[in-house]
Subunit: 808 residues, 2 copies
């Protein structure tokens, strides 16, 4: 099996399987390579710190998630292997890892659960995942039905990957009293000062089974054998070996050997998740299945007292019902019925769900970026305005006494500003008035402005009005002698970090956004009885717009900024990054663009930025580092901020188009946010329309092969802006201090639409129709025409039948 | 393909392959799960920072390398797919990823190259990897021979994994002018202050082919298709699609369609590695293959001028020869011929190679731990003593003016002390005298003691003697009122970090090591004419030994230490961590243990720590955190410092056994460092005897299933100590100021041994034999008996025939 060569220059191994980790290594003074006998390698070189050139597929440790990138064979997953005991045929649900295409396959992405239904080999497999409301755990139901005409002998192997937990300590075993596979680890650390934190972590992963399995395996390597993940060797045996993992990579796989009669259905339920210790796992068993030594580890549901039976049913199913109720709380305030059924489906169901997700989770961050936090809660104005109110109070309590906002909002005591929040950005104050107006439109809660809030540090205090006023003043003050806003190491565009890091560079977009903030804040001042302040801010906005037009207008569009060295960029003279979307749309909002500029810039956007998948953030995408612009130019062309159809920016633009009545342009671009309608488009995007991704790949003119691909990432500030586009723009059902203003901007192709709008406790059932002989929008309530289209004195609990007539 | 359900509660996808990344997501206020339609999942929960419970197999980002853990399907590797074009049969060399067992398989781990030879389907495949001497690159030769009797039609697909390079930017394409696949990335970063560092990195990975391929693929996903890594779909087509990767995970696979005649051999050569830019890749092509547009990208070697042909041959082959010469420079100073041929092979070939690797690379670190740096260079005393001398001067130039040593030695300007080097350890001064004595024994270079070296900070300066004297004084001074050495957050045992972090806990081992350091330093003082200092240090050692015996002797062995709270540990009253190896062996060296204690502790070690795979570091292994001992108790039982056969510690013990003449015990344990001799042992360890791993899994009495497994990690301070065991102990050929002392301690089972020892420029050919009538070791040179066994006045360039007679 092993032997030295005669000349003793080599040691030989004559089997690839006997010592699967046997290896040799080579090195020189620049590198090292550890070469495994089966072909695997770990190599690194010095520059001078160690680096790799052949990389692992380890998405996970490098980033939050990168679902656009390919999955790899051992990616974490939840699978069910099925073996026909008579023929030995093996397949897996839902598809990975064996990749046998079933006869029938349905993946149903639901609001409160996800369901697969497969048909294969006369078996029907249904796998359902849901979550509890308040607890980190997965609730799985697996139903298997014998759809054939004879009794079957099969084995089911639910396989829940655990993976590489820790180099310090990882192990796992089946714990009979818990009816669970319990895997244990110690999160790696080195410094004693980290121990108190590490000590509290939930370092166990468990797979808890309602029914006791026939057998199990906890060692990933023992499970796979030479068959590998695509055809694990352990499945070849009659029963799994009931092995454990001792400083071996754990897995959680169980086996149920069953013989269902024709037509018989069996259900298996599992809980999978993290825990601190075995006591917690016992509690979880109790909570979902009831705890009963006999029942918990007995064969199925026959054993166990009726009481426990009832409890068990109650626990698991009640949790699922409770979670459905929780998700249902995330209703929006708009239900539509238009000629576009795909849009209806998305707007009525998935869009508010996605907004709600952002609002209630803060993207699972302990320190959300300030701009994300405010915009995510802007969306909550339509779902749960109290949460928006609280978010404003929280954010303002972290505002610095000079009016500036921190880069992130700390939500947990002891949380720290991390990653991107350690990079100074200058735009955060913009979002205070811009997001607040939506809350006020929805609620008319101008009393919020009088709430007293302390500033960061706790010494100074002021009303919400004073806070935001100071923020707007800060924005106005943070400008150079030309009247343009400093960008420092970024504005809304995080990676635009080298335009102004020396302290001189300015942001065109941010200057325009400051002007718009002044206008919005002026409206709020006006509406809260502060007319003279309102006039001052409008004057301010006009002056800033003047500076913008003096320094940033490039002839057909606005420049994106001017670098530390005084070089304007995002202009026609640039070969890459010639035009950016954000200054264009916001200049429509701020009023900087007059009629001529508006036409030119809209044309320029259509010509240079519009693609079949939406409007790109910039074009052409940068293909090489531009050191006076920064990190954005290093991202892959067409990805993320470097010229993707970055939906957040696209939504700003669409919102601006509605603001200036460009309803056809607006609707065309809005519709491109969803995959479809044709199959080629769906395939290219590769995504279900259950969320809007943060981007679709751009650089359509440079790399058409990849353009349109969804990033698959559902964290995005896009969604509240899309909702505002619908409310304030497309369907025109925006709140005002006086009531509901009805002024739809339907695309020409729509003749008839109905909308249900909930607003300040009332319900408006609005029928919109194009009619002959109508020359402008006419709004009727109870047959009576409403001049100006504002339905006043909205009665809480009331129902309004509204009729809207539009010109043909 | 996709459709909403009638109740609009779900969106359905009816194919697992049409939108492979399509997904849904669920969340609650504690967690989020992103569920892919094929079963993959990304889930995280809050505690309060985001954490995982189902992990990726991402060894790489979490650690340097963990070769004991299982490889995963997409682990980086270098493979060759072979397709028989006529039958469609596909297999891969060396074994992964297709895992077809070939008819013949030989993996030959060589000193300067690694070679696989496979026979399968009438083809002979030879893959050879070597490195250049001074450059981070892999040099690959692939030879394919038609061993059948008819012409064949086959395709060869060298497949070099590139993997997930970066979320910021990753791409790849075949560059015709370079004859190379070039993959590009930007190392992820967020802060502008990191840019200058990032900017200089070699972020390209290239596969450079001598012969132009028929086709290629650069997209990992396009290459694999639904077939997956085990049977890539792209191999089903006649030719690869010549695709590129655009923000897609790149790979480097080429195709050569060939039709070898019976008996014909073809060779393909490649260079694979990192580069800064394409100019560098062009230089590399020039260096190894000669650069010629026609030749470089022409079909094979027919084209290209003869001049280039010659250059090409010269470049690649010369680099391989040069590398062989470089490795050959790592010769040790001992060649043995004993009854144990496996030991001979290891000692004559692999052991000095492993020492040399440590000495010339410093484990590919820019800031090696001080203790590693000194011990690794102790080993270089036998190979290249000038390097040892320089290492001492480097280390001492970073010594603090108070005599203490930093935790790591910074080797590059701008490098920082990282990871474990940010944790304060108290043992580093020990290694100065202990490692220096080996250098002095080998070289007699006592002049080194007079070299002037500045201290860290550059203000104070002193001779090497003064430096080390101060270090020993620091050790003596860093003791408590009982005379025991403080441990702070660790001694030799890195993760023993909570014994003394409050400032009171002491290390038993370190106290004993301080005594031994005093003895060694006393010898050096004596030999450099400082007799009174020598006497003082011997007195010091005796006093420290007294304290050790007063406070640490537990009845049958020495305690490992006393915690901050005054609790002795590593004692018979402990249920776990009852006995530690280090205090036992070092007490033999320091003289703390008298004859009675010696017998007791050797017996205790044999009973409690010895296993079939060597002597364990502690036993029983801790199975739960002990908060007054620390992180070592959290490592998995039997792994690493928590009770593995930690060979570094085992080597100390064996060295100590030789020091007190326990030659049978010593040899038995020494031999257990190598796998074998029987096949069951080799399988259990799972490693070739081409290096000693840092540990074999321990906890033999607790977890026998896993005990003995090699960690597969070849970075270890073990090897210079094993060499010292051979030189000072087993073969007894140690240097002294006067010459070479010959006093072998052969095990009883050996009757005859011959040894060639190079020493101070001379060669000693030593024949050792047991003879009847001999009562003590007799040493003869040229037939003349040498009293005391010390061969004096060694003449550089001389050859000595030495005969040694031992009692039967």
């Amino acid at each position: 099996m092993i032997r030295p060569t005669e000349d003793q220059q080599y040691y030989e191994l004559t089997s690839p399987t006997a010592l699967p980790k046997a290896s040799g290594f080579l090195w020189n003074n620049q590198m090292m390579i550890h070469m495994n006998c089966r072909g695997y390698a770990v190599a690194q070189f010095m520059q001078p710190e160690p680096a790799k050139y052949s990389y692992a597929p380890n998405l996970e440790a490098k980033t939050f998630m990168q679902p656009e990138q390919p999955y790899y064979a051992h990616h974490p997953g939840r699978f069910l292997f099925i073996k026909d005991e008579e023929s030995g045929y093996i397949f897996s649900a839902p598809y990975e890892p064996t990749r046998q295409v079933p006869d029938k396959f349905v993946f149903a992405a639901g609001k409160h659960d996800i369901v697969w239904t497969l048909g294969h080999w006369d078996l029907r497999i249904q796998m359902t995942l849901t979550l509890p409301r308040d607890h980190a755990a997965e609730l799985w139901s697996i139903k298997v039905t014998n759809t054939g005409s004879r009794k079957r002998k099969i084995s089911l192997y639910p396989y829940f990957s655990v993976g590489y937990m820790s180099w310090m300590n990882q192990s796992g075993e089946y714990v009979d009293e818990l009816g669970a596979i319990v895997c244990s680890a110690v999160t790696p650390y080195q410094k004693v000062q980290d121990y108190p934190k590490i000590k509290t972590l939930k370092d166990k992963t468990y797979l808890l089974a309602e029914k006791k399995p026939s057998a199990w395996e906890v060692s990933q390597e023992a499970f796979e054998g030479e068959g590998g993940i695509m055809r694990p060797s352990a499945l070849e045996s009659g029963t799994l070996a009931c092995g454990d993992a001792r400083y071996e990579m754990p897995t959680a796989v169980m086996q149920y050997r069953i013989q269902p009669e024709a037509g018989e259905e069996q259900e298996y339920r599992f809980v999978f998740g993290p825990a601190k210790d075995e006591a917690e796992i016992a509690d979880i068993r109790e909570r979902y299945f009831g705890f009963d030594g006999e029942k918990g580890t007995g064969e199925g549901t026959e054993s166990g007292s009726e009481e426990h039976q009832a409890y068990s049913e109650y626990g698991f199913d009640a949790a699922a019902r409770d979670y459905a109720a929780y998700v249902a709380e995330g209703r929006g305030s708009l239900t539509i019925d238009t000629p576009d059924k795909d849009l209806d489906n998305f707007v009525n169901h998935w869009l508010p769900r996605q907004m709600y997700y952002h609002g209630v989770t803060n993207r699972l961050s302990t320190d959300p970026q300030t701009r994300n936090y405010l915009q995510d809660h802007m969306g909550m104005s339509y779902i749960d305005p109290r949460s928006t109110r609280n978010a404003f109070l929280t954010a303002l309590s972290q505002q610095r006494p000079d009016g500036s906002m921190p880069d992130g909002i700390v939500l947990y005591e002891g949380a720290e500003l991390k990653y991107i929040n350690q990079v100074p950005h200058t735009d955060h104050c913009v979002w205070l008035p811009v997001c607040l107006i939506t809350y006020l439109d929805e609620t008319n809660d101008y009393a919020l402005l009088d709430e007293e809030v302390t500033y960061a540090g706790g010494e100074k205090s002021g009303t919400v009005f004073e806070h935001i006023d100071l923020a707007v003043q800060w924005l106005i003050g943070d400008r150079d002698e030309r009247g343009l806003n400093y960008i420092n190491q970024g504005d809304w565009c995080d990676p635009m970090n080298m335009v102004g890091y020396k302290g001189r560079g300015v942001s065109g977009w941010l200057t325009i956004a400051t002007a718009y903030s002044c206008l919005v804040w002026a409206d709020i001042c006006e509406r809260s009885g502060r007319s003279s302040e309102a006039a001052d801010y409008r004057q301010q906005a006009e002056e800033i717009n003047g500076a913008v037009n003096r320094h940033l207008w490039d002839g057909d569009w606005y420049a994106r900024g001017i670098t530390d060295d005084g070089v304007p960029f995002g202009i026609s003279a640039d070969e890459e990054g010639r035009i950016f979307i954000n200054p264009q749309g916001w200049s429509l909002l701020s009023g900087a663009a007059d009629e001529d500029k508006k036409e030119r810039l809209i044309r320029s956007v259509a010509e240079q930025l519009e693609s079949p998948y939406g409007v790109e953030k910039l074009a052409p995408s940068y293909t090489a580092m531009r050191e006076d612009v920064g990190r954005v130019t290093q991202k892959h062309p067409g990805s993320a901020e470097n010229g993707a159809v970055y939906n957040h920016a696209a939504a700003f633009y669409i919102y601006a188009l509605y603001a200036v009545g460009e309803k056809e342009n607006a609707y065309r671009l809005l519709r491109k946010m969803l995959p479809g309608a044709d199959e080629a488009d769906i395939r290219q995007r590769g995504q279900l329309p259950v969320f809007i991704p943060n981007y679709y790949r751009g650089a359509y003119r440079q790399f058409p092969r990849t353009a349109g691909r969804s990033s698959q990432l559902f964290n995005t500030g896009t969604v509240p802006w899309v909702y505002r586009c619908l409310i304030d723009g497309l369907f025109g059902v925006q709140g005002t201090p006086d009531g509901l203003r009805v002024s739809p901007q339907l695309p020409a192709e729509w003749n008839e639409v109905s909308v249900t709008r909930t607003f300040r406790g009332a319900e408006f059932r609005i029928a919109i129709k194009r009619e002959d002989g109508v020359s402008e929008t006419e709004v009727y309530v109870g047959g009576e025409r409403i001049e100006g289209g504002v339905i006043r004195d909205v009665a809480e609990g009331g129902t309004y039948a509204v009729e809207v007539k539009l010109p043909l």
